[in-house]
Symmetry: C2
Subunit: 274 residues, 2 copies
């Protein structure tokens, strides 16, 4: 690279790429002055333009943080129109009666393993829980993992996975027995002792909630680590039972019923689309 | 939004954001003419600038595809310098002797559940397998899932997760027994019948390979779907046994040995850093 090579519009393209690649990571102005061999005042002006275009196009928020640990970061902020579109698309796809699996389940794997959808769901959870202090995203294996890692990426925090089996590769673990709220059966979940620091704030993310037994188990397990659960987000919650085993949770989609004539009644939760 | 509101540098910021948000997705020029209320020729000029800045800064490739299904797409292309840095950082972190777990394992969960690292690993696999036709990424639960969904995101294809247990939510499944190459014990893995279309091309991604028994099981399972395995990528492979149960695989990091005096000998594979 030669000196003074980049024009303003080139620098802006580069800044947008770097910021959006790692949401919620704070980059110093020096990072960009070195990248483009440009003056700090020039980069500051570039960032003002980046801010404006992201806001005008509703592509997210670029925030400047002043002070010694200061810099600039990109906060994904999926807008209400796009939130509603993503959730409506998912519901539309899930209404196909060929998805009904005996036992009152519907087949969702193609949705929750589709990177396009899970990335958007991660951004939706990121927006909903943006104001909470969060040190970890926590999920129970397996189906919630893609949503959970995408939420972790949006919020720039690590993921912790509780296992339903005690694996040698986890080292020493902390375990808890929990009651599956829908079947009443007792299972055990395990988290590696070194995975969660004492006093941490944890956001639980999962793909599906029926009675909330899994979420309750995860909450109880976190008390063993003296960690605080600051929120619970699930992609789909069933309407029944109305009373879940946890009180505070946010669901994006409500599965109302699967009728006897094989209609799947499912819709986005209105309150998350505003 | 009002007409003619956006300047060139603002459009460039917006185009970069949209393209990089969904790697390998083809956007038509009309997408951007509508977004910015600008002429096609204007957007074409913008894209030439976007192309140049991405290439000059080694941030990836922006490719224009002509014809009826044409448009423009962003192909992540992590460069060799960054590849080496990411893999060296991971190895440096993993060399800490407190990570040794009895049984010859090392604790890796904090690395492979860290969104920053798994996103980069996904881009490295994306670069390595860029020329292959790929319809699905396939992994066996659990620890490879974050790497696998990030690779799926880079390549813009869906993920398929094989389960080590037969779950009701998967519907009808196809199963296979496989021999764990390191322990010699027999396990079963399951993939939902509806997850993989006949004749598909599949890329297997996992976090760790010792003898290759899991990869061999996944390959055998895909023959049951008449699917072709076009590649196998693992983050870490042990040096021993040198002869794995699969022939063609790419590993990013080699775990040579854990010595009796608790040194972990691990390093990036040189051939993936060039």
């Amino acid at each position: 690279m030669t000196l003074g090579k980049f024009k303003r519009n080139e620098r802006i393209g580069g800044i947008v790429k770097v910021l959006c690649d790692t949401p919620n990571k704070i980059y110093t102005l020096n990072h960009f002055t070195a990248m483009f061999n440009a003056a700090k005042s020039t980069i500051s002006e570039d960032i003002v333009i980046v801010k404006r275009v992201m806001e005008d196009l509703e592509l997210g928020i670029v925030e400047t943080i002043s002070g010694a640990a200061g810099g600039v970061r990109y906060i994904p902020k999926i807008n209400s129109r796009e939130t509603e579109k993503v959730l409506s698309d998912i519901c539309e796809t899930l209404r196909d009666e060929s998805r009904i699996i005996s036992g009152g389940f519907i087949y969702t794997a193609d949705i929750i393993y589709n990177p396009h959808y899970v990335k958007k769901i991660g951004e939706i959870f990121g927006r909903i829980f943006a104001d909470k202090p969060i040190d970890y995203i926590l999920t129970l294996e397996t189906k919630g993992i893609p949503l959970a890692i995408m939420t972790a990426n949006t919020l720039n925090v690590p993921l912790v996975i509780a296992r339903d089996d005690n694996r040698v590769t986890e080292g020493s673990t902390v375990s808890i027995n929990y009651v599956s709220g829908s079947t009443g059966s007792i299972s055990t979940m395990y988290v590696s002792k070194r995975a969660v620091k004492t006093g941490s704030n944890v956001l639980i993310i999962d793909d599906f909630m029926r009675a909330g037994g899994t979420a309750k188990g995860l909450v109880d397990l976190m008390t063993e680590f003296d960690a605080n659960v600051v929120g619970i987000g699930v992609m789909i919650a069933t309407k029944e039972p109305e009373k879940k085993m946890v009180d505070d949770y946010v669901s994006l989609i409500s599965l109302e019923a699967i009728t006897r004539d094989k209609r799947i009644i499912i819709h986005p939760k209105e309150d998350v689309c505003v």
